[in-house]
Symmetry: C2
Amino acid sequence: MAVDKPAFQVAAEVLAQVARDERVDLDELKARVDAGTVVVMGDGTVQPLGIGKGLRVKVNANLGTSPDYPDVEEELKKLRAAVAVGADTVMDLSTGGDIDAIRRRIRQECPVLLGIVPVYQAIIEAEERYGDTMKMPGELLLDVIERQAQDGVDFMTIHCGVTRQTVAALRSSPRLGGIVSRGGSMLAAWITQNNAENPLYERYDDLLAILKEHNVAISLGDGLRPGATADATDAGQVSETRVLGELVLRARAAGVQAFVEGPGHVPLDQIEANVVIQKRLCHDAPFYVLGPLVTDVAPGYDHITGAIGGAICAAAGADYLCYVTPAEHLGLPSVPDVIEGTIASRIAAHAADMVKGVPGAREWDDKMSRARRELDWEAMEHLAMDPGRVRLTRGDRPTADDKACSMCGRFCSVRANRLVDGEPTEDNA
Amino acid sequence: MAVDKPAFQVAAEVLAQVARDERVDLDELKARVDAGTVVVMGDGTVQPLGIGKGLRVKVNANLGTSPDYPDVEEELKKLRAAVAVGADTVMDLSTGGDIDAIRRRIRQECPVLLGIVPVYQAIIEAEERYGDTMKMPGELLLDVIERQAQDGVDFMTIHCGVTRQTVAALRSSPRLGGIVSRGGSMLAAWITQNNAENPLYERYDDLLAILKEHNVAISLGDGLRPGATADATDAGQVSETRVLGELVLRARAAGVQAFVEGPGHVPLDQIEANVVIQKRLCHDAPFYVLGPLVTDVAPGYDHITGAIGGAICAAAGADYLCYVTPAEHLGLPSVPDVIEGTIASRIAAHAADMVKGVPGAREWDDKMSRARRELDWEAMEHLAMDPGRVRLTRGDRPTADDKACSMCGRFCSVRANRLVDGEPTEDNA
């Protein structure tokens, strides 16, 4: 592996904890971190986590205020809800209210890794100072990133791959949905309006120096990701992925851990190809995907649409799923939306873990199947991904026979099985 | 194609309507029906429907009373809800109350194809008459099927493939979850306890004669389907599929349209193989799957688990998805569960239609993407799979700027796109 680059800042005890949590060999994990195929984040203050090759697929929950809904208390409720149902990481995407203060509150309360998207704050500050986001000086972007890094976050999504060249590639193959990433669209507009290069690309070395100093990992944002299934895997998207691959190598060389973001909206039959392309072009950097959504027509249910794409993508090699909530494409998610979204992504991640041979994944399912066979409702609740939901549903539909459920009652297949096997039933025991 | 077998009873105008609805060539459709790779059901009283090769993937919603919840009015609410959100067919699986009367009420009100599972009623009648379902005379099964057929239903799930031989195969490779089909488990128990062959297999020709007379299609039930991911694609399941293939040919020869049911619980990496095996062993009969669920650990969210499996299965060639509701494994579904389950399966079906090149599928998504690009909220609502849900979510989260949404407000990527493209925005128009 690389020998003459600065080492990533991962403490030995953090690495050891991740190896234990994941039930993987410590030396192998260390080699993967060194090679950049696994990213390990987290120090003493938050739960350390590894993301990448051979590890459990992780789930991120986005939260954050919007101009219409700037109340931090509501976002803290979402934070607690997401963590309670098993989100591995959280991203604060706040764009409303005092976003410095909001981020600090969230950081204080957040027991898991926290990521942010710095460009939002830069856009807002540019609007405040210059009355027009298009007048943002390039310097402001790096200033904001430095201030945020000083505050302490674990990773940042930075859209360095939206460049003059990739925007030109995008134009070469016109899109139905255009650019749907907020950061990506603002930067592409800035590049076009100012006829200048993206400062995050032009000053990438300075950016890496800031991240290195504050031990922040970089999530290379896919500003040109498709936002319509019709646009998936097009010239704009693939050009950006190519650039992100180059930036992965530069980040590794600078001692900054890097992973790469991906789509978005992708039809079922292109998902696997997207993973192959990303892994190849980005030198096996961990792959962090949003969805992908396998159809555009189900707003209100995009957590399901995203779970379908996420499961296939993770089974094909994606390492980290950003949740999609039922509110996607419609508005800011509510607390129940955050719960639904987190669980939907966890289902996708776990379904993939099972077939990827992730240690412990298969055993969980087998324990549940055994509990079902034994009609052990207590164990079923305990083993469920969301025990609260099981309790609620069972409580809503009481049954005269508390060993069975209200669907089959006495016509229970589990009991009939005992007759097949010649085992005693309750009736003839 | 077969020339000396009795023709299937499909009226020319029904065939023509299905060809129009599906935008497929009439002669090609007719050839597929003759070959048995497409089943067309429905007469003057219900919406005719084709299921199989080259057609849109269909979605079934199960409903029906249970011993604990015998109220038909509640089931009629579920029927209306399922049809309102686009269920293509409905199955009445009632096991509580006066199930003859319930079936007739549902039949009266049901505007789509109706299927049933006759063995439930036979079990209940056996229990009433003989005090023990295991004392059911084989004759009763055929009597019940004849009475139900006279009443008029479009198709019946009949578990003819649970035989002495397939139950023995099941025993040869022990299972974690046993038999989870209610009909399958009761028949396997009956076979074992009575040391006799399944009357539905032994008297299959008599059964086909009844179905032929009343123009009822047969859905060859998979009584030995896996109910735990650990049991997927095992000896019991594959042996039964092999027998079902034999029964498909005999049904076709008798002029009875046939399709075949499939799992169940299947890990992601075995789904495609399941489709290949079923299509090959069952002579390309339409494939009707329940889920499949890709993990066992998410009770309360099995509509999502099932949508993941259903999408992959349908893309690989399955033709017909039986929904799974959030209440699966926990209790009888509520009306909201029926809605969630139906939409989840429709998402899976449509995601597959898109990549199978089903006429009109891709266009729907593209219309939605265009509406998004134009921030045309009225069109987005109209095009959504569930417009009511879109209205509700938007209504819950009003925004100061009714052209945008409460997630991004003025930081809307769609608007930034106009700057990239040099188009007028509202601000500078």
